[in-house]
Symmetry: D2
Subunit: 360 residues, 4 copies
């Protein structure tokens, strides 16, 4: 089975490359009757867009989605939603170095090994520009979830060595996240992060970081034993995004150091049904949502494209050097936030539909 489709019942298929005429997105399985228009897609597309602030790439991309089908008279009609993104700038560039040399950290070499050749125009299919489709699909998923009272939010908690302390993930608001360019809800730490990003950019380098995401209002019962656990599908969704190198939920790696008596969240009576006193389980037990907030974190590696010379080899296998031209994000974190939220929402929408199918 080829890999350009994600999800079982809320199903996303994409095609397109960074330097071709554009991207095609098909969202299949969205129930009929959901109010939907281009305006629902634009806010997250703008958060993902290059050029939105000083600390992200200054490339200009217009990401105007054209809805081709699946929406009729302002509501989804139950059929497959087709969305088109045209690439505005398809001029022929001098790809020079990229064409014949393997960029370190990129998929140039592995695409070549896999397919026998590759579209060398700026990444081709491996370009992160493909996430424009995911963010649009995620916006649809978010709207579907919102009608069930589910809200998904992401924010940056770490850039390089700078960590922002987040007390209660469920207390973070979209406004706090959007109040600064790095999308960290802690204003003081955000300022430090921005300063660090500007510094590494001046040093022709890049920097990694961590994004935390939380979903509130998720009903208990989502997730399918034994393989399609909610935690498993979330992990896949996140690792399917470019540059993501790690995933954890709840206590995550910290659980490795804990004792059971420390890590177990104890059930307590509550109005509306049992809750846990604490949430080290990140809202999932046995891979099924517990009704507590779902909390996960991912690590994003520093941008691989660097405007400084790096050793590499060319397609003939000979040693050479490469300097990546073009404008690249010195830190991927600010623009990652809507991408991570989108995949989170897609997984939740998919499992919400799956759970509906299983009710007698």
């Amino acid at each position: 089975m080829p890999g350009n489709t994600f999800g079982e019942l809320f199903r996303v298929t994409t095609a397109g490359v960074s330097h071709g005429p554009g991207y095609l997105l098909v969202v299949d399985g969205c129930p009929a009757g959901l109010p939907l228009s281009v305006d629902d897609l634009l806010p997250d597309l703008r958060r993902r867009r290059p050029g939105q602030s000083k600390i992200v790439t200054q490339r200009q991309e217009e990401d105007l989605p054209e809805i081709y089908s699946g929406v009729f008279e302002g509501k989804t009609d139950g059929t497959s939603i087709g969305i088109l993104f045209r690439n505005t700038d398809q001029r022929s560039h001098d790809y020079g170095d990229i064409k014949d040399k393997y960029r370190p950290g990129h998929a140039d070499f592995t695409f070549d090994q896999k397919y026998g050749f590759r579209d060398y125009r700026g990444g081709g299919r491996s370009s992160a520009r493909e996430t424009v489709c995911r963010v649009a699909a995620g916006a649809i998923a978010k709207k579907l979830l919102a009608q069930q009272g589910v809200r998904v939010l992401g924010y940056v908690t770490q850039v390089g060595h700078i960590q922002a302390p987040i007390g209660d993930p469920t207390a973070v608001t979209l406004e706090q996240v959007e109040q600064n360019d790095v999308r960290c809800p802690d204003p003081a730490k955000a300022a430090e992060m921005i300063a660090l990003i500007e510094q590494v950019r001046k040093e022709r380098d890049s920097i990694g970081g961590i994004c935390e995401m939380v979903a509130v209002g998720v009903p208990p019962g989502l997730g399918e034993p034994v393989f399609d656990k909610l935690k498993a599908d979330l992990a896949k969704a996140m690792l399917s995004l470019p540059a993501v190198t790690a995933f954890e939920y709840g206590a995550g790696f910290a659980a490795a150091r804990m004792r059971g008596s420390e890590n177990n969240d104890l059930f307590v009576p509550a109005p509306g049904g049992p809750k846990t006193e604490t949430n080290r389980h990140g809202g999932m037990l046995g891979g099924i949502s517990s009704g507590m907030p779902i909390v996960c974190r991912v690590a994003i590696k520093p941008t691989s494209s660097l405007p400084q010379p790096q050793k590499t080899v060319d397609r003939n296998g000979e040693a050479t050097e490469i300097v990546t031209k073009g404008r690249h994000d010195p830190c991927l974190l600010p623009r990652f936030v809507p991408m991570g939220e989108a995949m989170f929402a897609i997984v939740l929408a998919d499992h919400w539909l799956r759970q509906r199918a299983q009710r007698m």
Copy 2:
């Protein structure tokens, strides 16, 4: 789509519960002509089995697989491989506490929320005993991979706060791993880990840890852009295992602190094609195998079942206490190793078949 199947072309389906008559495993898609017998399955099943050492649970389970189909005259015949595991001990127990109370950290509550009721006999479908099927399927995948020169190995690198330094993951041998009960290739650290596990057991507690896994000999080109990246399917595979709370590959979370100039692995000429000087990319670039060793790590939470009183609620939502009876692993790590290896091998076998389909 229900969740008891994993993989696209090497496809594993399981059924069974811990206290029923047994487990059914169907492995579909294994090519014809692979030599296979029960003897190929036993070594890993024994590594997974309870009662194998002092530091794991002393429950006795016989895990004798019966091959029902798919193997003819000592070789796979291309049809679905059916394997049966009978549970030897199905006596009716007094499940008392488990029946009406939600065990902290377990899936009791979430199964109840999902399905409306649950098999309360020791976990039912959420029991880790289901992994007996995965380990058998993984043994088949390992044998298939071995014929391509691919080897998968896991080992424990951390128990609680005790970390074993592993220099070169590819230098670790199965013999080193199997030389001690905790499956840590560093004998000194292994001794410390074992002492810690015995201590927490005496204290009626449990402890978490980290398992690292490595695959060598993986050809470049495995992994399907853009959603079914190899890293994505590995993450899902690992998080589908009970008690896994985190996944990382290569530099993983450490990449969050790095600069691009630190993190990028530089290509260098090598006999047989370009290699990278270092392997912070964990053998995957753009989600496709690079030919370098694939290295990943997972965190395992401390066993949730504790032989000490814990606060919880019962099915009526009222506060109560629970003491989990029965013999449980004070640390899941030693028995996790073959489970993690199995899922790793299943993902690699699946993607190896997928890559074959795409060759002209």
Copy 3:
């Protein structure tokens, strides 16, 4: 994707061969709370069983299903239902002719071409004994459907040149079908059919026929545009059964001769919503159920195994003769009826669950 799984949300996986230890069946996706026991499976298994009358094969097979999982305290628990069938007679036979010669009309040659070798013991995986799993899965689907008021019934309308006129398919009862050995609801024609089958058996030959199936009570709206139309999934289900060579629904092939003004079913007002005056559309418009009875027919070829010499070639490609030993059905139709009903019910259960997922 290997081929031993059927269905998306009501999902059936099978393994097993005719002369191995038995068959494994996993039914995944059945909602929790459906009352289910072995007694629900036995009636249809008995209708499928060899040896039930003079006009079917006299082989004796006990088809006692053992439910391994998915049912707890008399109800489905939402997890995968595992069912085991043991083959009672696994004695080593002298397969002689079958081993080295290709039986005409059988899959011997094509299995050999596909897999490089084959289980030559009486058909191996291509044996129609595999349908024991389908009939059991179908019985579960039927029970699920019955709770929604849906009933599925099949019957024989033709054996060789003898055709039984069926006025109104929805008026046929299970009692009428089961009142004679050939499962034709027209007693006079049934007698003729039985006489013909006995005659061809004496002549060491076999005979084909047609089975018609009808589902009543199917709610409108089942079927997924544009590829997973209900008619498309029914066609696949039927053609996946051994010996089926043709499928039609409603007017079927007769529509080729009709004019639109003859073929169109006109809508008329009715209590509970519009109906059509006639049902040439066989209960499906645009591949979606209309609420009218779903009616389809399949052709079954005459049994390929013949107790008379037939020309063929051996595995060395040399001309030879073969006489198929063993007891074979001279006509597959009587035992086909429960198989066809089972696949019909599985498709309807699957689409019923799919339609539930899509409701807001």
Copy 4:
């Protein structure tokens, strides 16, 4: 799983409606390295196009595909192939009757029942205009197959009561098929068919027919036991097309009247491996290709849209009359030929890739 995707390894996804801005097509899984350009798609698109002759609808649709991705420097690059079709005429029409009345034979009523409302502009998602995507995907599949020596051809054998005798399906040529407007390779019968179609058009009526399709050069071994038999996937593919009401392969329904001694095809020695003397099995045994030509037939119902008054009901459930305006095909057969060939080719390409995955 929603229904807008077809195929496992050669995977087609479509979106779009007849009166929206256009159609999106994603073909995923085509191997890298296949020469491909728009010119490869045009011939079959022109065969499918309205307005090509007097006996098909005179609507004018430009079907110019724009390849968005998956092709680089004239060859497929292994990534998902995105193709866009713009609808040229999206003017707002007066849909009057269609909007509030259910057209007999159409999906108006069932879409309404399924989704709660529908795109009433000329069929919306149920419009046969969606097949423009299938024909383009089929052209890619045909090119992939041609490189393996596989050729797929369809032709009309029956319109109404007029049947064309086809001696040897493998002797029919594309030139013979394309030499007349009805795509029947028998010129005399073609003339009769054309006269009949013109007559029914003048009588404001429509007429059904039969299309036969043949694939030559298919290697033995394609088809996956036990559910994804080649015959099963072909049946699904054909029944997924609009207006198809029946499918048969080889002897098909005629097998119902046959004895085994008549129907069995006997194996005979031949250069290059055993063949059968006859081909009543239509090139598939046990659902696996035998190397003999694959032959199947489908019935197409008469066009449901009629320019004469028909009884129906409106959305309020009240009796009314409807006259379908617009230009409709009086007989769907001529334009069906490329659609049937396309689905045939897609199934063969899919199973060819699946078989490759299973080779050690």
